[in-house]
Structures are given as structure tokens and as C-alpha cells.
């Protein structure tokens, strides 16, 4: 069993990367490997916006990530500064910025690049999409 970190750098819509990363993560878990965390960076954080509401007959990428995280206990971590500048805020950041709304809900969480770096120390491979 190997330890993997998955990094998602592109938006879920317009680019296929977030979907590719999701499929890879599922395949890695199915093969018995441990996905230490999925790190959303740059435009990748847009996949974590709770307010995404695709049509009901369409594949829902956000839900798929959420279910994967919950089912397999995989931490889904946003780079906080990438998220803030793209308008993805948790309740805590919303309060800090005196805003009345937020759009990041568990199991997604905020983290820093430091978390990615410490994760890389423990992981066998980092796969970027």
C-alpha cells in the first residue's frame, strides 16, 4: 500500500482536470492505496464551492468529491489564500472579513501550503492534475 497526495490545480468546469483527479483518486483507493489528502490549489478551489447547483440530470462533481471524502475519510483541503481570492470562504473566514455569507462546508476544509509540504514528506507520490 502506498501513500498518495492528489493536487487539483484547475477549475471543475471548463477543464477536465478535477474530474480526472477524482477518477484517479477512486482508482487509487480501489487498488488499496491510501490517499493522504486531496489538495485543491489555484483554480482547483472552485471545485469546493458548496453553492454549485448543476442540473439534476447532470454529473455533480462537487457531490462526487464530497462523497469520496466522507466515504473513504480522505481529507479534502483547500489552499486558503487561493480560495479567499476566488471567493470561496468558510464560515470562519467570512466572519473575519465581516461578510454575511460563506460557501465552504465540511468535509472540505481550509489549509495552507504548509500542509501540502508536510503531507509530501509522508507521501510516496504527489500526482497533480
Amino acid at each position: 500500500m502506498s501513500k498518495l497526495i492528489i493536487q487539483v490545480n484547475q477549475a471543475g468546469y471548463g477543464q477536465g482536470s478535477s474530474y480526472q483527479a477524482l477518477q484517479f483518486t477512486k482508482a487509487a483507493i480501489d487498488a488499496g492505496h491510501q490517499v493522504v489528502k486531496v489538495f485543491f490549489y489555484q483554480d482547483g478551489v472552485l471545485s469546493t464551492n458548496h453553492l454549485q447547483s448543476p442540473a439534476s440530470d447532470e454529473f455533480a462533481l462537487y457531490q462526487a468529491w464530497r462523497e469520496l471524502g466522507q466515504t473513504h475519510q480522505v481529507p479534502l483541503v483547500n489552499c486558503v489564500s487561493a480560495a479567499l481570492r476566488r471567493g470561496v470562504l468558510s464560515a470562519a473566514e467570512s466572519a473575519e472579513n465581516q461578510l454575511q455569507h460563506w460557501n465552504l462546508e465540511p468535509p472540505f476544509q481550509m489549509g495552507g501550503l504548509g500542509e501540502l509540504v508536510t503531507g509530501i514528506e509522508q507521501a510516496d507520490r504527489v500526482i497533480c492534475f
Binding site: L4, A27, D124
Partner: protein
């Protein structure tokens, strides 16, 4: 031995061109997503003639290119995961 991943079209992004400047003969190039389209063009077929190439099967099928790209090795998702571990490093361009 490095696994190089290119996921964007070679005509819209310079990921493939940049990758080819650094790839070594023992490395493997994996084309994903619109990256597979490069092999439809003679220019890239020639440029990649001496490179070990594989494609993600689901992306070839999604584009209806099985008959055009049938001569190249195609990986399932499970084989993709296996490749990331049998190569010493993985670089996404």
C-alpha cells in the same frame, strides 16, 4: 525513470513541447484528456516517434479515437495508478 503527464491539447498549451525538451529515453509520456489529440497530427507523431507513449483509455474512447490511436498503449485508471508507483517520479506539465 519519470512518468510525464500532459493533459492539455498541444495546439492550445505548450505543456507537450516543454515536456519534450526534458524527457529522457527511459521515461514514459502519458497523454490524458485533450493531450491525446496531439497524436492525430503528423508533426507530433514524428516528434514522439522515439518516446515511450501511453494514453488514458477512457479519454481515447470519450473522443471516439480508438481506431485512429489503436497502435498506442492505452491504460485503464488502475494501470494509471500503477504507473505512478512504478516510476520514480511523476511530473504533470
Amino acid at each position: 525513470m519519470i512518468l510525464h503527464i500532459v493533459q492539455y491539447s498541444a495546439t492550445q498549451d505548450n505543456a507537450l513541447a516543454t515536456c519534450l525538451r526534458y524527457i529522457k529515453p527511459q521515461d514514459t509520456l502519458l497523454l490524458l484528456g485533450d493531450g491525446v489529440n496531439a497524436l492525430l497530427l503528423q508533426k507530433w507523431q514524428h516528434a514522439l516517434a522515439d518516446t515511450q507513449i501511453c494514453l488514458l483509455e477512457q479519454d481515447v474512447v470519450a473522443r471516439g479515437l480508438q481506431s485512429r490511436l489503436g497502435q498506442y498503449k492505452q491504460l485503464s485508471q488502475a494501470e494509471f495508478v500503477h504507473y505512478t508507483l512504478t516510476h520514480a517520479k511523476v511530473i504533470t506539465w
